[in-house]
Subunit: 447 residues, 2 copies
Amino acid sequence: MSPSTALLTDRYELTMLDAALRDGTAHRRCVFELFGRRLSGGRRFGVVAGTGRLLSLLRDFRFGDDELRFLRDERVVDAATLTFLEGYRFTGSVTGYREGELYFPGSPLLTIEGTFAEAVVLETLALSVLNHDSAVATAAARMSVAAGDRPLAEMGSRRAGESSAVAAARAAYIAGFGATSNLEAGRRWGIPTMGTAAHSWTLLHDTEEDAFRAQIAALGIDTTLLVDTYDIRTGVETAIRVAGTGLGGVRIDSGDLPTVAAQVREQLDALGATKTRITVTSDLDEHAIAALAASPVDAYGVGTSVVTGSGTPTAGMVYKLVARQDAAGGWVGVAKASTDKGSKGGRKAAFRTLDGGTATSELIVVSDGFEALEQAAAHPDARPLQVALVVDGEVDAAHEGPKGVESARAHHLRVREELPVKALALSRSDPAIPTVYVDATPAAAAV
Amino acid sequence: MSPSTALLTDRYELTMLDAALRDGTAHRRCVFELFGRRLSGGRRFGVVAGTGRLLSLLRDFRFGDDELRFLRDERVVDAATLTFLEGYRFTGSVTGYREGELYFPGSPLLTIEGTFAEAVVLETLALSVLNHDSAVATAAARMSVAAGDRPLAEMGSRRAGESSAVAAARAAYIAGFGATSNLEAGRRWGIPTMGTAAHSWTLLHDTEEDAFRAQIAALGIDTTLLVDTYDIRTGVETAIRVAGTGLGGVRIDSGDLPTVAAQVREQLDALGATKTRITVTSDLDEHAIAALAASPVDAYGVGTSVVTGSGTPTAGMVYKLVARQDAAGGWVGVAKASTDKGSKGGRKAAFRTLDGGTATSELIVVSDGFEALEQAAAHPDARPLQVALVVDGEVDAAHEGPKGVESARAHHLRVREELPVKALALSRSDPAIPTVYVDATPAAAAV
């Protein structure tokens, strides 16, 4: 059995639950929404990631003996709440953007409907997963755009917490990377893994030549030799002397990459190794990758910048109550009033409007059902963005596991084609398309 | 049994192992060192964190059936290597800085000694843990310095991957925070947890007054009421009307905090609630905390900035082979030659030199044993920085669990007192003390 995820939770969710069970509001049906108020870091688009992971973690959101004992011993909640938690199981519904989908400010990435009691406790877990994974996926998509057809490998595990590293490998793959160095990501999510040798391999041996010979003996001549431990020119010369002109590749992990790549390509060609690939891996980000577009580089390995979201390590999404039932059972749209953090109350339906296949707006219809569909129908080509993820407590398994990852990656690569050209520039900017709200509620006044 | 941590590893470690088992170099004894070449982000000092976590994860670094099956099916390694991994157990030794200790460029934070085979495979796990946790602890220490005697709570779980969030709570606590919102950090590491209510609590109720009454009924009047869901002035007035002047605290999560805090203090005092505390929690970092020093704020809650290392989400440490035995059994210091990433070969002993209790340098003696001790003895007051963490495969349990955390926190707060005053400024700068290398190897020439 998987370990419980129930305590990956901020304490205030359980203290609210405790108080709500006392005053009866715990059983009011509520709609919570997970969304980003803006695209952090001046991004032109965001990429949703983490949804499939969250659904699996939701299955393990149960309070077992260990969790209940801690909550009792620490007096986090009272006895009645402990009893409630012992039987806790999310029985509500979640709709949301497909994993890999693009998003913009206000996009309702997840809509969680259930009682206050069952939905309020999911806030931290849902945000932790989506904020981290989407930040990585958004950075990764920019790198993937910059790299064009050249393959990208994620190699940043060492620069992220050991579990986040696995999630980061997954998010980068969904956003267009082709492989990861992280073995657990390979096992858990079926992502192709790669990697051959570090500098320590060369240093372990008495000579660079010994190291290269041993690597080729073990991995064959299609392997990639790391040639910059001592002198790069000598390293390349030794590599081809040892492996022959059929050597698969060389890796360069230091120096001024455009200069060094050009020199190494020239040297390889002069030695007859015209098919030997050049992989570069030194502190790359989307800007460095773009700057190498004209250089004779065959593949990129990206570490720190992708796993840390290239300057934006969290997507900054929030989880807000947007509608609830009142004492009489009617629905009320709600929103915090503070001007600097205002959010929009009410349940929402989201569509991407397209013109000739190119996205023109994020259309968010406040209210759902027929009114929303009518609004969307007014647009010639509006793609609905939300799908059912959990129905009455039943998780749709299609989004989980390696299959979910492949499907998210395919979806991402497909919908990225809808972006207008200006979305692909790397500089800071406003979102590439505007978010347009349409209020279709019969009684339009949200509190 | 805990899940295996063995695949939290970059593939190249296993391909190197595979090749080394073939050519016999796998059994050469090696010294690997984990260190940072610089203090990322213009920090004046770093704080070591993660050591205790790493030691526990090391206990679970075993290749079981699942791990071996994946490596076999994916042809990551050959049959001989699978057999080696099946019996894998780290039998070497690790010395290192105590958790909570300060560090500077080149500080040998971990020294791992064992065969190449057993030490090379720990690279990714060790770096993942120390890079993440130390980045958080370093940011947290700066916030703790800025906050002075006012309590700090870590509330950033939602802005970090769900497992990194637990580690971040732990690292922040070691570096001077007093509590966390993360319940799992409370259970696993014994860290005090805190939190009362979110905006959704107020929005759930028909009126703000209903919400405050219900919270007080459940949590007592010593609770903290969140007063900025609608209008702060009305919120404060309602809070005191409902709770009386004995209300424990109010929390403000929006607005221009110096202005708002002053207004709220004035209003509370005018209402007679002179003991009611003010907690602020809106997008704080060390600079915002410092700017609030003159404001009537009683406590800070910090989220995003602490869990993301306040602009520096990874400490940028590396794991390098620094010495190995040659074919004849003699020791050779080794280092990569590339000029932009040069590291210093050889085993090292580290001391902090002090003058009147204030740190003056990070003294790193290349070589160990008597020569190192002699060098250190030349300084009137040199504190040795390394302790034994693993001896012949046996982990020192004193560094693990809640006890390890408390001891690391106490150590941190003690050694922070040694910092010169200039180390406490928040602006970007060079390290507060210089790193001084002394080469005491009998044959001084490192390769």
